[in-house]
Structures are given as C-alpha cells and as structure tokens.
C-alpha cells in the first residue's frame, strides 16, 4: 500500500514536473532557431565592433581594439556627408511617400468603382525586384536617350544629368524610392480608409464639418494608428535603403548620394575594415531602435489620447 502510494507520488512528481514544464520545453526549437539566427550574429557583430580582424596566413586574427575602431569612425571623412545624406533622404522620401500615399488612399477610398483595379495596379511596383527597378530607372535617367530627358527635350528643356550631377543625384534616388514605396504606404492606409466607420464620418457632416474640417478633425485622427505604422515601416526601411542607390549612382558623384548602408558596404567590402564596419552597424541599429521607440511613443499617444 505504502509502496504504491510512494510510486504514485514519485511518478506524479516526474510526470507532473514534465507536464508543468512541457510548455517551456516546447519553446526550445524556436529558442534554438532564434539564438542561431538572431542572437549569435548580433553578439558576433558586437564582438567584431570592438575588434580588428586581420587575415594572416589563411587565418583570422582577432585583436581587441575598441579605441582604434572608434577613432577610425571619428576620422572617416565619408561618414558625415553620409549621415547627412541619409537623414535628408529619409526625411524627404518618407514625407513625400506618406503624403502621396495618404492622398491616394483617400482619393481611391472615395471612388465608387475601380477600387480593386487601383489596388492591383499599386501592387506592381512592390512586386518588381529592386535590381529590375534599378536597371529600369537607370535607362530612364540616361543622359543621352533616357525617357526623362526625352520628355524634357520635347518641351524644350536641355538634357539634365540626373545621376551625374552632385546636386541632382540624391534627388533622383529619392524619386525612385518614392515610386517604389508610395504603393506600400497606399496599401496600408487604403485598408484603414476602407475600415473607417461610415456613420462617424456622417455624424461629422451632420454636425457641421466641411470636407476640410472632417479630414483634419475626424478622418486623420481615426487613421492615426495606421499612419504611424506606415510611417514607422517606411522610416526604418528608408534608413537601410541600399539597392536603389547602389544600382543607380553607386553613391556618387563623389559622396553626393552615398547613404549609410552603401557606406557600410564600402567599409566592409572595399576597405576591408571589418571592425570599424561592425561598429558603424551597431550605431545604425541603435539609431533605428531609437527611431522605433520614438514612433511607438507617438503611436501610443495617438491610440490613447
């Protein structure tokens, strides 16, 4: 009798332990994947950022040199224009994309027919591979036979060096980015516009709001959460923009259109400064994280006024 009780309690002990902890164990595969794919590379990046890595006799040689990487960053002549370009690029491209995307979403939302067609058309730029976009626009920007200069010639304006002029190169990249990403903003905001409560807008009209007042006082506050999400996505992705500028200008002429990601690419793969590049990457991540938390605070404020 006593033995069976003991056995039962012991079994209940083990089985109970397994039962109560199984939910944690079942997370293990996901944890392993997370550690291997996310944590390890990040830790490795942090380690790299305080090291110098040299290749001697077919071996990697790591040395701990945080100060050297730091001073490499401070003395990098390309860094300041790159940061300036990136901030300018993000501010202008994202603002234009948000305004155009929102305007289009409101416009298409008010259409009585053809909404589905518009949505389909707008998905196309997102479907095109970035490399194809780069090649396509490079042809259209071409000084001698590109579409843009043909159009300008038709209205009697001389050819413009879209990608070859220091004052225009960055803005040409912005133009492509806008073409590429307005549809993304549109799709997010269009879904939100379609979900607007009709009766609330009607209540606003009955209450005496003009179209403009309705937009500012009712529609935009109701869209605020979606606008924040679209803005956050765009801001983060714009900070990391690489393919367009790499394919169109290569950052040039000079550093006039060089963005942070492209600069990182050059530091890593052209200058082979792995440690300094890693440190720059870490700072980029920190910068984007700060932006993210700022955005979340704004979103929180908008959702719970």
């Amino acid at each position: 009798m006593r033995r069976t009780v003991n056995q039962a309690s012991r079994r209940r002990g083990f089985v109970g332990w397994l039962n109560s902890t199984f939910k944690h164990w079942s997370l293990l595969p996901a944890v392993i994947v997370f550690v291997v794919l996310s944590v390890y590379p990040l830790v490795n990046l942090l380690r790299m950022s305080v090291s110098t890595i040299e290749f001697k006799g077919g071996n990697e040689v790591w040395s701990f040199t945080p100060a050297r990487n730091w001073s490499a960053m401070l003395s990098d002549p390309g860094l300041t224009p790159t940061i300036y370009n990136t901030l300018l690029f993000v501010a202008v491209a994202v603002t234009v994309e948000m305004v155009l995307g929102l305007g289009l979403a409101l416009l298409v939302g008010s259409m009585t027919r053809g909404k589905g067609l518009m949505r389909t058309i707008m998905i196309v730029p997102i479907l095109v591979p970035p490399v194809a976009i780069g090649s396509m626009f490079k042809l259209m920007f071409n000084h001698d036979f590109g579409l843009f200069n043909e159009i300008l010639a038709a209205i009697g304006i001389g050819p413009v060096s879209w990608l070859g002029s220091t004052s225009l190169a960055l803005w040409s990249v912005v133009l492509v980015d806008v073409w590429h990403w307005v549809p993304f903003v549109f799709l997010i905001l269009f879904a939100a516009v379609e979900g607007l409560p009709r009766e609330v807008l009607e209540a606003g009209r009955v209450d005496g709001a003009t179209r403009w007042q309705l937009l500012w006082r009712v529609t935009l506050p109701l869209l605020a959460p979606a606008i924040t999400v679209a803005f956050l996505f765009r801001a983060i992705l714009a900070f990391k923009a690489f393919d367009e500028v790499f394919l169109l200008t290569g950052g040039g002429p000079g550093t006039s259109s060089e963005l942070l990601s492209l600069h990182l690419f050059k530091v890593f793969f052209e200058q082979n400064q792995l440690g300094y590049g890693a440190m720059l990457s870490v700072f980029t991540i920190v910068g984007v994280l700060m932006l993210l938390s700022l955005g979340r605070r704004i979103a929180g404020a908008a959702a719970a006024p």
Binding site: E199, V200, E202, A203, V206, D207, G208, A209, T210, P305
Partner: protein, 360 residues
C-alpha cells in the same frame, strides 16, 4: 424648430427605382415615426432628409427652405445613429461640443451648453471619459446629448435603440419620449420595431417596399389599417387573417372561409368578392356559438393576459384572453369573431374594403 415636407420624392440607384411618390408632411414639433420591415426604404428616406443621400426627383423642405441641394451641415439638423457614431478619439465633452466648436461659438457658451445638456441626460460625471469607456446605454445618451446640445431645427433618429438590450430599450424609449415632450422639437424617428412606433409616435408612417402604406396616429393605424400589410405589420401578436369570399351583400354579411367557417361581418361588400378577413387577437373569443373550430396548440401566459394559439382549418389563429380563463393545449374549441371588428381587404390588392371604424 421647423416643419418638414417631403414632396413627391423619388430615389433611384442607377436604373432601379427604390422609392417613388413619397409625400409626407411633418408638423412643427411633431414626433413622427417611420416604421417598416428592413429594406422598406425608411432609413433611406431619413438619410435623404438629412442630406446624406441624394434625391432623384421631388423636393424636401425644412422650415420654409428647399434643402435639396444643401449639404447636411447647411440643413441645421441633428442625427442620432444606430451605432451611436461617437468620435472615438474625443471624450464625451469634446464629442458634445464638436458641432458648437465648428460653429465658432464662444468657449464659455459652449461649456455652459454642454454642462446643461449633460445634466439633463445624467452625463455630468462622464464628461472626461472616452466612448470606449462607456456602456451601450451611456453611449446612446452621449449621442443624444450631441444632438440636443445645439438646438437644431429637426432631430433625426436612425434606429437609435436597436443595439441596446431589451430592458434598456424600454427605458430609453420612455426617456426619449419625455425629452421630446420637454424640448418640443420636430423629430423623425426610424425603427423596424412596431412597438416602439406605437408607443413613441405622435404620428406614424408605415412604409413598405419604397412606398408609404399609411400615415396616422398610432391608434388610428391600429384600429383602421388601410392595407393588409399595415394590418399584419402593426400589432403584437399579429392580426389573424382568413381567406374567403363574401356571401350575403347588404348592410351585413358573411365571409365563407376557405376552411369552411362562416364569419359574420358588419360591412357591406358585394356578393362573391374574394377577401382577406382580418381580426385582432383581442377580438375573438372561445364560445359555443363560434363557427371557427380548432384545437389549442400553444398557450403562452404573460401574467396579465394569455395568448392562445389555435390550429383551425383556416390556419393558426391567435387570441388574447384574460387570466381568469385557463385553456389547455389539446382542447377542442369553437371561436367566435366579433363581427364589428372584422377588417376586410381585397384578396388581390390588399386594400381595405370595409370603411367602418373598427375601434376597440
């Protein structure tokens, strides 16, 4: 405050005419209820008066102004929606002062008006809350407050109580009615609930399939329905309808029903005419002298009265008895219909044939 006139209004969606020949005059200070089954056009008519829906032809006049081409905001109306339609990003105070702010009233006036309205509606303690923090009944009250606060010419209500539970609905019904008696503002109220229509209306407008079937004071409509549709729609439990043909003409006569019963009538209708004979559940009794035979199927005790459903050869007939009678399911009974309360309708058109008053 102002009277509202709807004159020969038509509404088309593309080629489909959903409403035509709508004529309706609502007097200054009147509480009019548009009632009908869903899809009958009552909400569309209300939205046309509000200006949220365009009209294809005809005129809508509020006060002495033709408002066909005016925006909703230019019509000086207030509307209470079924979903309440409160501004979710504004608290109760801002919801209520929204329209006043748009009209650029002085801040002190706005505050005073909102406070006063909030007191009337018992909302004073909720002014700083957001709509999502309120119960359904409270939201309903805020929606009312938002409408009342600016003293519009006309109040429009679009099924405002449909989303409330039964008890609250009855309480709010009384409250809205009391509020109307106090403010005396012209009100147009849409509902599919005929009990709401009966209890709240000064005059009710029964609609069906894009047309007005009948306009009148609730009891007049109940006592003298002009069409079979109105007779069936108004009244709970529903009116009993037997199909048959008229036998004897003259001042009185008999309806021979399809099931073989003979129902005496008082109205004179020509011999042989096919009719629908309708009588309310309170106008039929269990009596040995009855000609309509059947078997009791269901008995529903409501307390003060009892509904009895009898299966006859002419279909199911409902009667209302007082609680002193104790019928039992399964009993064979004979039913006697009060001849003076039989409404006759043309079997094909559904239009009223007997003209006499069929009061209680």
């Amino acid at each position: 405050m102002a009277a509202v006139s709807v004159r020969n209004v038509e509404k088309r969606f593309g080629d489909v005419s959903v409403m035509r020949g709508i004529d309706l005059d609502i007097a200054d200070g009147e509480f009019a209820v548009l009632v009908g089954a869903s899809g009958c056009g009552k909400s569309t008519l209300l939205r046309m008066i509000a200006g949220l829906e365009s009209i294809t032809a005809g005129d809508i006049v509020i006060g002495d102004q033709r408002v066909n081409d005016l925006e909703p905001r230019e019509r000086d109306i207030a509307m209470v929606f079924q979903s309440y339609a409160l501004y979710p990003h504004l608290n109760v105070r801002d919801n209520m002062s929204f329209s006043l702010k748009l009209r650029r009233k002085a801040a002190a006036d706005i505050a005073a008006q909102v406070e006063q309205t909030a007191n009337v509606l018992n909302l004073a303690h909720l002014l700083e809350r957001f709509p999502r923090q309120l119960s359904g009944g409270q939201r309903q009250r805020v929606a009312m407050g938002r409408a009342i606060v600016r003293h519009p010419k006309v109040f429009l209500f679009d099924e405002p109580l449909s989303n409330l539970d039964a008890q609250l609905r009855i309480a709010m019904r009384t409250e809205i009615r009391a509020l109307h008696q106090r403010l005396g503002a012209t009100s147009i109220y849409v509902t599919h609930d005929q009990v709401e229509a009966m209890t709240m209306a000064d005059r009710m407008v029964v609609m069906n399939a894009g047309r007005i079937e009948q306009i009148g004071a609730p009891l007049d409509v109940y006592d003298v329905p002009q069409t079979l549709y109105v007779a069936r729609f108004i009244g709970a439990p529903s009116i009993n309808v037997l199909e048959g043909s008229v036998e004897a003409a003259g001042p009185t006569g008999v309806v021979n029903t399809k099931g073989g019963a003979r129902i005496a009538i008082e109205a004179g209708v020509e011999q042989g005419r096919r009719v629908s004979a309708a009588f309310r559940p309170e106008h039929v009794d269990i009596s040995e002298a009855g000609t309509l035979c059947g078997k009791i199927n269901v008995v529903e005790n409501l307390g003060p009265e009892t509904y009895v459903f009898v299966d006859t050869t002419d279909g199911r007939v409902c009667l209302v008895l007082d609680r002193s009678q104790r019928p039992r399911p399964g009993d064979e009974v004979k039913l006697a219909v009060h001849p003076e309360h039989v409404h006759l309708f043309d079997a094909d058109t559904g239009l009223r044939l007997s003209s006499g008053c069929a009061g209680p």
